[in-house]
């Protein structure tokens, strides 16, 4: 096995492991959020949670496989490690970005849900009887 193949395989295993770990974290901790957003409707929360994680996997694994190609020759193990670190670093940044994007979605959903039952912003000036037709 030459250095390039070894670099590619290491890249793939590290990236996939990282994706699984982040997705797992998201899945585990996002659930509590979603249950609150959906007012304790657990089946719905689980379903949305699952769908979000599927999207997360698709985007990240798609990105990982698209950026696999190096485009230049690797002569020494040193160059292999350097190339690997650039690739894994990029994947980490994308994962981080995706993760915060997911958090943003969660918090926005939660805020919208709490807004729905919020009381009026001001007190009335007065009261008047309403004559129903």
């Amino acid at each position: 096995m030459n250095i390039e193949i070894a670099t590619y395989l290491t890249y793939l295993s590290i990236s996939i492991a990282l994706t699984i770990w982040v997705a797992h974290t998201l899945h585990k901790n996002g659930r509590i959020f979603l249950v609150d957003v959906f007012h304790g409707n657990e089946p719905l929360a689980d379903s949305v949670n699952h769908l979000l994680v599927v999207g997360f996997y698709l985007i990240n694994l798609g990105f990982v496989s698209l950026t696999l190609k190096l485009g230049y020759e690797i002569a020494s193990p040193k160059e292999g490690i350097e190339a690997l670190s650039v690739k894994v670093g990029t994947v980490l940044l994308v994962l981080g970005g995706m993760h915060f994007f997911n958090l943003l979605i969660f918090s926005r959903m939660r805020r919208r849900a709490t807004m729905r039952d919020a009381p009026p912003p001001v007190y009335p000036d007065t009261f008047t009887p309403v004559q129903e037709a």
């Binding site: 912003p121 001001v122 000036d125 008047t128 009887p129």
Partner: protein
């Protein structure tokens, strides 16, 4: 609170424009719009001072809570899906004085603004 009734001035172009815009907005609370000083308005609220409703927008909840002027505008924002957050922001003690000033100014000059913006009938 299930419904908010708006008593608006049909003579003012700006109000008619806002009326049209409101009709299209997604709402959290149902909005009914009745022109001011009409029989319908008097029948629905027999004890309300209807001369006051000509001065500024009036909003009345289905329970009979009356909101005049700036408060009425805040209630309208509160009823809209997209602007409920803004209603709280504009009602904070820091922003409420500004909200009052701006809304009162617009209400007071609504005919001039309508004319200037070419919204007259």
């Amino acid at each position: 609170m299930s419904t908010l009734t708006l008593l608006y001035d049909p003579e003012c172009g700006l109000c008619r424009r806002v009326h049209g815009w409101l009709a299209e907005q997604p709402k959290l609370v149902e909005l009914k719009m009745i022109p001011i000083k009409t029989d319908a308005a008097r029948r629905l609220y027999p004890q309300l001072n209807h001369d006051l409703t000509a001065e500024d927008l009036t909003v009345i909840s289905s329970e009979g809570a009356v909101y005049f002027g700036p408060k009425a505008w805040l209630m309208v924002l509160w009823a809209l899906c997209k602007y409920r957050e803004w209603s709280y922001r504009l009602a904070t003690p820091q922003l409420l004085p500004t909200t009052r000033r701006v809304v009162s100014m617009i209400s007071e000059h609504r005919y001039q603004i309508s004319r200037a913006a070419g919204l007259t009938r």
